[in-house]
Amino acid sequence: MTTLGLAGLCKTYQGADHRALAGLDLTVESGTLTALLGPSGCGKTTAMKLVAGLLRPDAGDVLLDGRSVLALPPERRGVAMVFQNPLLFPHLTVAGNLGFGLRMRGLSPREIAARVEPMLERVRLDGLGPRRPVDLSGGQQQRAALARALILQPKVLLLDEPLSNLDPGLRDEMRCLIRGLQRETGITTLIVTHDQAEAVAIADRIALMLDGRLAQSGAPEDLYRRPATAEVAQFFGGVNFLPGRVAGGQFHATFGRLALAEAGLDREATVTIRPEAIRLGEGPNTLTGRVQEIAFLGTQSRVTLDLMATTLEALVAPDVAESLTVGQEIAVNLPAKALWVLPQP
């Protein structure tokens, strides 16, 4: 069980006009599965490669259990990485691929075989050991790539968008497999993804990266319900940002006053509320709004509301939306527990 620490990691690629990483700080607790989440190009894969030793940082440090591993080459860090593409070695059989790392460590063919067979079973590839990678489906190849890394029992496992090239059905299957194997082995795992739903579904903790820095890390629910900034909220689909003032445990805005569950000190503030937390109807924190627009989204409908020149978006069940008409005045309930005052920058 190993704790992974990234301390002030900076990296600028040769010829690039901006930094891929601009001082990334992150701690991945021992035995947890942490998702490194962020939009494309925010530096997630760069961070992974720096941890694996495949790139050198311009500044900062990579720590395993508090000890710097920057001076160690990739093969001596005890960090295994699974890439977005399976990248199985085409000249080796599936079993040969799984045993590759063990062979590099100098294990005998008998020792390798003794570890490869059970691992093939664990990733449901039993009987496919003698095949060539090209004979496997995409999902099987990705499972083989995962097994090839896990068989080494690394201190830290890095997964770089391992689900992104899979079909939706296979993706769910692979996600369950990763989660199950990680719980079973307890290997400290960092998974890169740009898909917030995937991160929420798989990870114990999420570290959100924006513009080469850590924007917020914590339990998935924290980032979802208690974002540190408007950018974090927006990344998780937040669209409602209400300007006003917190005073005496209440939020005062142009459209009225709202009770807050967690108010903090009196100050100018922005309050956010998730669209799906808004209720249409009476309640303890109710205002009057006018329906501006109704959009059917399938399992939900989006209702755009005007609260005295402040726009709010609510996600409601389609049957609720069907009973509304554009221009209608309705009661809009904003539960105090769902209102989150964004921290001061």
Binding site: L54, P73, A149
Partner: protein
Amino acid sequence: MTDRRRIFLLLAPALMVIGGLFLTGLGLTLLRSFRYMPALGLTDPDLAAYVAVLTRPDFLASLGFSLWIAAASTLIAAMLALASALLLRQSFPGRAVISFLVQLNLTIPHIVGAIGVLYLVSQSGVFARLARAAGMIAAPSDFPILTNDPDGIGIILLYVWKELPFITLILLSSLQTLGEDHEAVARSLGASRWQAVAHVLLPMISPALLSASALVFAFSFGAYEVPLILGANAPKALAVLAWQAQTEPDLVARPEAMAMAVITALIGLGLLLATLRSLRHRGLHAR
């Protein structure tokens, strides 16, 4: 017009050249090698020319010599090309200039290169004169015999110099197609830099290396002009020996020349088939 017919029509000019020139020439060569030359009154095909050729000591010496220069030059060129490609795929200051210099001699004809080798490394060449001027040897004749020598050193030198960029280019293209991800995976799985090259990179570019080497071997095995300029009187390269037999005033010697040409072609064909079989056996294809 169906797709099939359109493709056939588009390929027709190339097929006519191949069929009309190459296959007709090959057919005539085969017939003559079996001593079927009605103009000379030879109308009963037999294997006499092959028997005569395969029992000629000078032919066997030439066969061994051609195999030696082809194998040595291919092996040396392939090893140097591999090292060059592994270096040139990395970015470093001056890489573009070095890449240009490596590729420059692709444009120089073999015959020009052969004359250049004569000027440089023969006993009357520049290096011999420089060595004498530097007091390293007493006379140019003390300089090692590197051209027109029975070991074919000059020929091998020329082929290595000429074929190295060809193999390097093919390997560089293969390496660029592969990218660096497989190596990165190998490193993260515990392979050292050299283990990653030996256990992952080399097997993955071996189809390209093998194909390029087979082409170089086949070319240097059957080439004529370089051994003619840089080779010794004996043993002669196969192509030189065959051409001499072909230009004999006695027309009866022609079937032996044709038999030599056929044997040379068969060895080249055998090598090509062996290469393809090896690639198929390993489940790999040239990239």
